[in-house]
């Protein structure tokens, strides 16, 4: 299987641990990943204003790159890229007049976009094409006795039209954890917003949310949290520093990309996991469980 891949900017920086562990896993699962040439930042958020077309240009331009690489679908890892690319795609597919305007604006592109690219997330690829039973067969280092709470955040599942799982009770991450032989832990805050970009100028709000979300996961017995968004990861991981300052009784908990856990189970060497980029050190718990 071959698939075009849109990384987005954060996967090349702060979330290199996300990218490297995902690419390792996909290679191991027999998927040939081809990074898009000349991709540009998607803009991170889908523009909600009905009359604002200019902000759909960035995501749509990336879909032209998909066509140019002779593909008709593209995979993302970042939840925000997924949401923005997919919503912009659905927006222009439903509104040919807007698509026409956007194409005219991009008159220097060699081809027009025709709404014929499919945007998908790695989670969908795993569930629908690779299939979790096949993933389970490839596991060489089962994540035995590791209690994992899966955190979805907002943009993988909302709004409904583009969500990749049940909008109120998604289970795809838990199912993956089960395939890796981990113990999934359910908790009520798994789809609660982490306060997102408020982290730039109002980190105290993020500290409150991080406290609520993570203590809820801990109360259910979680030892680590798995997720799929570099902004969620920053807020739930790095902002534990601010959280601990505000809530002295708060206990740190490691945050990992689900792909890091998957890569471990698939036998990935430790240096590929880039655990140095995880702020709360996951090594002690991973060592305790005999996983690294």
């Amino acid at each position: 299987m071959k698939i075009s891949y849109y990384p987005g900017c954060t996967l090349k920086n702060n979330a290199k641990n996300f990218e490297d562990s995902a690419l390792y896993s996909l290679k191991h699962l027999g998927v040939e990943v081809e990074e898009l040439p000349r991709w540009n930042c998607c803009g991170t958020v889908f523009s909600l204003a009905t009359d604002d077309l200019i902000h759909h240009v960035a995501p749509i331009r990336n879909l032209i790159r998909v066509k140019e690489s002779n593909s008709n679908r593209v995979m993302t890892l970042c939840a925000m890229c997924y949401n923005t690319l997919k919503r912009a795609n659905e927006r222009v597919k439903a509104d040919p007049e807007s698509l026409d305007k956007i194409n005219q604006f991009m008159y220097r592109e060699d081809i027009n976009y025709e709404g014929d690219v499919k945007v998908l997330h790695l989670l969908e690829l795993l569930r629908d094409e690779i299939k979790l039973e096949n993933l389970a067969k490839q596991v060489v280092k089962p994540l035995k006795n590791l209690k994992v709470a899966s955190y979805y955040g907002c943009l993988l599942i909302r709004p409904k039209e583009i969500g990749l799982d049940d909008i109120e009770n998604p289970t795809i991450l838990e199912n993956i954890m089960t395939s890796l032989d981990a113990d999934p832990v359910d908790f009520p805050y798994k789809t609660e917003c982490c306060a997102s970009y408020q982290t730039v100028d109002k980190p105290e709000i993020v500290a409150d949310r991080t406290y609520q979300i993570l203590t809820s996961a801990q109360e259910q017995g979680a030892e680590v949290v798995a997720l799929s968004c570099p902004l969620c990861a920053f807020n739930l991981d790095h902002r534990q520093k601010e959280t601990a300052k505000k809530y002295p009784e708060f206990k740190n908990i490691p945050i990992l990309y689900f792909t890091q856990l998957m890569a471990i189970a698939l036998g990935c060497p430790e240096e590929v996991l880039r655990l140095d980029l995880n702020f709360i050190d996951p090594k002690p718990i991973l060592k305790e469980k005999g996983l690294i």
Partner: protein, 135 residues
């Protein structure tokens, strides 16, 4: 808080502008409160999501444009997902922000952030906050 309602405010072009930019029919809201019940940000808000819709119906422009809430909402779409009338509350809030931003009244002053604040956060955070909080 004392609120004055008048025919003039209800007929103000502000109401039409919010409906146009958001693409939502404000009068569809019957004030059930479900949007506010599920909103993770209400503890920081001065006007709750259901009140935002009511204020917008009534053309309470000054109250909305000065509210803290419009900058606290992080477009998490929980309210949209749960509104029994299918109203996209997050879009209405975006429209109110847009009315200010389109007058170049930026909410986030990037030049006021220290280098440490900027270099600590990942690109995804900087870009999304600039997209939401500046024109």
């Amino acid at each position: 808080m004392r609120i004055n309602i008048s025919r003039k405010k209800i007929r103000d072009s502000f109401v039409g502008k919010v409906e146009e930019i958001s693409g939502q029919n404000l009068l569809a809201c019957y004030q059930c409160g479900k949007c506010s019940a599920g909103c993770p940000a209400i503890s920081e808000m001065d006007i709750l999501p259901n009140q935002i819709i009511r204020y917008a119906q009534l053309g309470l422009k000054d109250e909305l444009l000065q509210s803290k809430s419009i900058w606290i909402c992080a477009s998490c779409f929980t309210c949209n997902a749960r509104c029994p009338k299918g109203i996209n509350i997050a879009e209405v809030i975006e429209a109110i922000r847009q009315i200010l931003l389109r007058k170049r009244e930026d909410h986030l002053k990037i030049e006021k952030l220290s280098d440490a604040e900027k270099s600590n956060v990942p690109p995804i955070a900087i870009i999304s906050s600039l997209r939401k909080f500046t024109s």
